[in-house]
Each structure stands twice: as structure tokens, then as C-alpha cells.
Assembly symmetry: C2
Homo-oligomer: 258 residues x 2
Amino acid sequence: MADPMYRQIADDLRRQIEAGDLPAGSQLPTELDLCDEYGASRNTVRDAIRLLITRGLVETRPGQGTYVVENIQRFVTTLIEDPETGRGGGEEGVYIAQVEAANRTPRNCALRVEIQQAVGDLAAALQVEDGTYVISRHQQRFIDSAPWSLQTSYYPMSLVNSHGATRLLEATDIPEGSVTYLGEHVGIKQTGYRDKIAVRPPDETEISFFSISADGLVPVFEVFRVGFDQNGNPFRLTVTVYPADRIQFAVNVGEVPT
Amino acid sequence: MADPMYRQIADDLRRQIEAGDLPAGSQLPTELDLCDEYGASRNTVRDAIRLLITRGLVETRPGQGTYVVENIQRFVTTLIEDPETGRGGGEEGVYIAQVEAANRTPRNCALRVEIQQAVGDLAAALQVEDGTYVISRHQQRFIDSAPWSLQTSYYPMSLVNSHGATRLLEATDIPEGSVTYLGEHVGIKQTGYRDKIAVRPPDETEISFFSISADGLVPVFEVFRVGFDQNGNPFRLTVTVYPADRIQFAVNVGEVPT
DNA sequence: GCAAATTTGTTCGTATGTATT
DNA sequence: CAATACATACGAACAAATTTG
């Protein structure tokens, strides 16, 4: 007995999918049919199917059946749009330009602005004391009315108190982008930034917003962007979360043809 | 009856974990204890635990019990080491420097060099006809004897036939890095590259090499790097796969303090 | 629109195998 | 070897979602 039976069944089905005997979009035999075919109980067949689900090969639709997943065309987000200016992708202006270029219509939901106390990683990223007040600006983004990303930017309150960046407190879009606003009106110029990209299982909010599997099988990308000003101090942390099954990141360095 | 029972049990346990009642590394009650506690059958309790596993909160050890996972310290790989030179992280020389800087010891396994025909995405990335022969150089990488990444680089055969880059065919390391070798001895200089980063479930080879859950619950990062020469033509495609639970990518743009 | 049939989802009980202590 | 704990597998029943007649 090398492999358990549910794994043998899963392997056999996987082979059929990869060989094209079960093409993308086609329906698998029903669970009861598979029971007959492999001489296994329904629970064992379901274990096999669950394995295929976690590997992203099939999906089940209650009342309908089990289907081979279609290949999702992953949308590409460029983290560095222009190596010359170093302007980052994912920010407001560039974000909209990218999306429209692909004949898609972006939409931003209402901003939610809050003031909270920075603790832990957030305080560390902004290099402020634990408990320092920060402004959080949270936004839901859609493409073609499909949920796309959850983004929250954090700014130290000192930008308002000491530098007069009062527009950060208003719950309205900053059309030119907050980085441009801070640079032109407040004298805080972003001279560099650092992105960190990780993957983790989704939480309840993300499962609900992105309409991904409630079993947490689809991970999410989490992009931390810390912006640094002309003095080398961090002045902004932006955390953006994307569903990992429908996105791809690109980084262009040097001369890259389009 | 809003939620099914196994989900209620999972939610309750998740709450205990997040509240710190079940700290990282601690053991959960055994399945039979949980059956008593919640008045559910063992199968239902196991369904609840499976949900926590897929969300990365707990892990089971046969014969021992179920434990709250320790937070993994994710190792950071920088995709752009130096914005001035634009030299990319993840390549041979830079890779070793990064690893040693963190007091870890890198190790490369024996190279495997093959000649194969490019089809589909591979041919498209290198901009060659389907069926063109390419050189593939495959390597397994370790850190502190722990599996770290699987990397395969593809080069068009024309680099050997027309440009005399014969060392690409030898199954030995190119210590200065193949990009440097091609630049200095063959006259193909890399003037830019494009990385694309995606996440997907692991295949059998990756599950075995990285020793990740056989259920495919831990996704893998897949980084495609296409290098372009001074004429804007692609001359190399490198595909690197990392386990997503122990890595994080960084991209530095502009002036970024260390 | 409704009822029946089909298909997957949830839950129980039970038994046996395998890994660890 | 024995005890403990998780892994696999079977059978059964009912619920919920969807399609079909």
C-alpha cells in the first residue's frame, strides 16, 4: 500500500486533466459515478476531490457538479512603471493609467479616514513610538465592478500638525495623488520607497470582499510600501492586499522593450 | 443554524488562538477532547481542524497532537539590489552575498544541463519559434541545508552556435555569473530585465523538494526573469520557485535607507 | 410557479492503520 | 510492548443548491 486510496484517485484524475482528457471547463463524473468507477466510498472520493481543489485544478458547485477550472488570465500590476522617474505602480495615478490601458474601467470606493494609534510593525515601519497617532486612509478598489484590492495608507499625524498637510484628514480623493500633494504643498518629497511582497491566507474580511473560497484556499498578496522623504525618513506606509489567483506583479529594470 | 457546526468550532478555536489563550507552539486539546467539549463527532472536529490548517493557524503531527504554528521569520529576497547598477537580486553572485550577510550558509546543488525544445510560454518569452532548441540549466538551492529554491535558466542555442558561449553547455557553475560571462566573453550585455511574480499551488516535485504539506496548502512563488541585451532582445529566461511560507520579496526604488 | 430529480454539503457512527511517546 | 493521537476508509442519513420536467 504505497499511497492511500484517495490520493491514487486524485492522481488519476489529475493525470486525466493534465492530459486533456478532461479539458478546462468540463464536468467531472459525479461523486457517485466516481464511487463506482474506483470502487471507493463517497467520503473517499470526496477526499480525492478536495485534494484537487486545494491544488487549484477543479472547483465544485453545489447542486451542479465538479468542474475543471478555467485558466484565469492574471492581470499584471507593475511595481516600477518607469525606471527613470522611479515612480511606483500601484499608486493612484499610475494605477488608473494601467487599468485603462487594458480597456478596463477602474473604480474607487469611498475613502474611509481614521485616526488611530500605531503599534508594532506599523510603528516600526514609520519609525515612530508605539502609541503615536497616525492617519489611516482606507479604500476598496474595483475593476469592471469586480473587487480588486484593499488598500490602506498610514501617515504620521506630524504631517498635519507640523507640516499642515490637512487634506490628509479629508475623506475625499486627492486626485493628483497624495505623494504629489505632499511634495508640492507640504515640501515632503518622496525620494525612494521600498516594497515588500508576501503571501498569506486571507482573513474573513478579505474572503468576503474578494468573494474567494471560504475555505481560505486562495491566498492573498500583501504589498507593504514604505515611502521615504528627502531626509531618508519614512512618511507613509501603504498596505495593499490582492487576491493571489488573479494577479501577477512585474518589475522592470533597465531598458525593457514593451 | 447560520453556520455549520465544524465552522463554528473552527471559529471558536481561531478566536482562542488570536486572543492568545492558545499561544504559538502550544498544543490544542486532542480530537477526542474536542468531541466532548463541543458535543460533536470526531469527523466534525477534524473538519474544523482542517479549516484551521488551510488558514495556516495550526498543524497536526501524527501520534503527537495538533499545535498552534509558530510565526515563521520570512527571509527577504531583494529583487533589485542596487538601483544605480540595476543589478538584480536572485542571481548567482548577489544571491550568495545576501544569504551570507544574514549569517546563513548557502549551498548550490549540482547543476543539471539539458537541451530541449522551447514551446509555448518559454518560446514566447525568448521570442523564438516553437520547437527551437534551448539550453536549460537547472539548480537546487539550499540555505543552512534547508531547501530554498528551484531555479531553471533557459538560453537559446544560438548563443552557443552563433556566439560561442560554450560554457553554457558545461554542467559546472559559472562563478562570476552567466550574465557577466555572456557580457565579457560573448558580447551579449544585459541592459535590462523584467520580473514577473505569481503564486500558484505546488506540484509534486516542489512538495517533495521543499517538504511542504502534501495537501498543497502552502503555495509557491514563481518568479520569471527575462533578460534583455543591448539590442532589446531577450537572451535568457530564469524561472525560480520558492515556498511562499518562508519568503518575502523586496523592491527598492530610489534612495532607500538600510 | 411547483415538484421531482440530481448533485454536492454536513454530520453521525464505526473500524482499522500508522506514527510517536 | 502498550498507550495515545492522528490518518484513512467505509456506510448511512439528511440538508441545501440547482436543474429539469
